[in-house]
């Protein structure tokens, strides 16, 4: 979608059936574990490998091209194997908490993440460097992602903006 402008797509973890399966320690077809902490997975589609990350504490699941996926953050302090379902469960809970109780049923939002407007620019302390994004909504009728510019646009950009 839109070529090489974007390197990842962020969605809320509770919107992905794959994450629910991971919470039950069942890997869906096409998913393989990439670390022992059940935070990073490889997804193969159309012969290409992507990385699915459950980003700690944010409720965000990020799908990125393997070559552009950053190194994962330091592992959690608790024992890795024992919290396999815990990380996915925590991600789902964080996503649900972010959305709140009034979330419209069936609304699935996503954010394409691109690079900074000025490549190679370094942020001035305390300033956010503008970057290319694209806000999306999943249309269940057409099973396609569509552009989204509704009232939740600003909120979803901040809620899904994982570092």
């Amino acid at each position: 979608m839109f070529g090489n402008r974007y390197h990842a797509v962020d969605v809320f973890a509770n919107d992905l059936s794959e994450v629910s399966a991971i919470r039950r320690r069942r890997l869906p077809a096409g998913l393989t574990r990439a670390d022992k902490f059940w935070r990073r997975f490889h997804v193969t589609k159309n012969g290409k490998v992507y990385v699915l990350d459950l980003i700690s504490g944010t409720g965000v699941a990020r799908l990125a091209r393997k070559e552009t996926a950053p190194e994962p953050s330091p592992p959690p302090s608790r024992g890795g194997g024992a919290i396999a379902g815990g990380i996915a469960g925590a991600a789902i809970a964080a996503a649900v908490s972010k959305k709140g109780g009034a979330w419209p049923a069936g609304l699935l939002l996503g954010l394409l993440v691109g690079h900074a407007l000025e490549k190679g620019s370094t942020a001035i302390p305390h300033q956010v460097v503008p970057r290319y994004v694209f806000t999306l909504r999943f249309d269940r009728a057409t099973q396609q992602w569509q552009a989204y510019d509704g009232g939740l646009t600003d909120w979803m950009k901040s809620a899904l903006a994982a570092t």
Binding site: I124, Q127, P130, T135, A147, D149, K157
Partner: protein, 342 residues
């Protein structure tokens, strides 16, 4: 009343100080290290220096104050540092005089006070001398046996004030045998005026810069702010559907700021580019919003993104929507072909 300091007493005091000079050098270095860490955390631009007082400078100070009861020999002999509080000294010179207040606050909050009535003094003397003085005292732990309890003076001033302070001190006090003439006095007064002006200009420049940075980097919160920003940058009133333009731009940029609007050229250039694109596509209804959208779409290579957003707009076809849909049918640029599809 104690007698004034005699020359032999001054000599004795200076000789004793020389034996302790290394201690005060260490005190100044320790305080400077702590200042350096605190100021770096506070991100203040500054110049930091430290020193132990030169023995001859101590001698001159004692001679100038020989009549002052505070400098009685008995007090000097008991503890010279309690009398002469700048044996160890640090100086923080800031560029923006406003930053003196922040450094002042950092020293008050983070460094150990000396516990004296004169711990903090703001100097703005008739001579023109301007600075904030702090007295700090090092703790007396087991690892600080050689320096524990020593007082260090910290001076805070602007670059301009420092220039005047140093010249004024050197001219008035050194060499002792040469009095300051009327011409020099007048030149010092002129220099003082210039340093005040310099401080004022730096203050204004820094404030203006902060406001400009904020204006360019603060997210545009609504269509009204977007319109205001575009009109300021274009230098004239603009026409069109700013509500739709705002919704369009915030889909593709994060955050949407004034800086983004000019990230690939001026707003005027974007409007001109868009006007050319609209003419090339024979658009019937045009306005400034359409020109800007087409202009920024080209330079940022957002043709497909803008088309996708326009397609998602429900309701009657507006001029902006039609312009963006038509743009998709235009010739693909080289960069668009290079992008390709996944």
């Amino acid at each position: 009343m104690p007698d004034e300091l005699t020359e032999p007493q001054i000599d004795a005091t200076v000789e004793r100080y020389v034996l302790e000079l290394a201690r005060y050098e260490r005190v100044a270095e320790i305080v400077a290290d702590q200042l350096r860490r605190e100021l770096r955390a506070g991100q203040q631009r500054h110049l930091l220096s430290f020193r132990a007082k030169h023995p001859e400078d101590l001698r001159e100070k004692l001679r100038r104050n020989r009549d002052d009861p505070k400098y009685a020999y008995v007090l000097l002999a008991r503890n010279i540092n309690d009398v002469v509080t700048d044996l160890a000294g640090c100086r923080v010179v800031v560029y923006d005089p406003e930053a003196s207040k922040q450094v002042d606050a950092i020293v008050q909050d983070r460094l150990p006070h000396a516990g004296r009535p004169d711990d903090r003094e703001i100097h703005d003397k008739p001579s023109g001398y301007r600075a904030i003085h702090h007295l700090v005292r090092l703790g007396a732990g087991p690892e600080m046996l050689s320096v524990g309890g020593a007082i260090c003076e910290i001076q805070i001033c602007s670059v301009a004030a420092h220039l005047f302070n140093e010249l004024e001190h050197d001219i008035r006090y050194k060499p002792v045998a040469t009095p300051v003439g009327a011409d020099e006095t007048e030149l010092l007064e002129q220099l003082l005026s210039v340093t005040h002006l310099t401080d004022s200009m730096v203050r204004h420049l820094e404030r203006h810069r902060r406001e400009e940075v904020h204006r360019r980097t603060a997210p545009l919160a609504d269509p009204g702010e977007l319109r205001y920003a575009l009109e300021q940058l274009a230098g004239r009133p603009l026409r069109g559907d700013f509500v739709r333009l705002y919704r369009l731009l915030r889909v593709v940029f994060e955050p949407l700021t004034s800086a983004v609007l000019e990230s690939k050229g001026s707003v005027r250039q974007a409007l001109q580019r868009g006007e050319t694109a609209a003419r090339d596509r024979n658009l019937d209804i045009v306005d400034d919003v359409i020109f800007f959208a087409l202009g920024i779409m080209e330079v940022h290579r957002l043709v497909r993104q803008f088309h996708a957003v326009a397609q998602s707009w429900r309701g009657p076809d507006t001029a902006l929507k039609l312009a963006l849909l038509v743009a998709q049918r235009g010739p693909t640029t080289e960069s668009e072909r290079e992008a390709g599809d996944e």
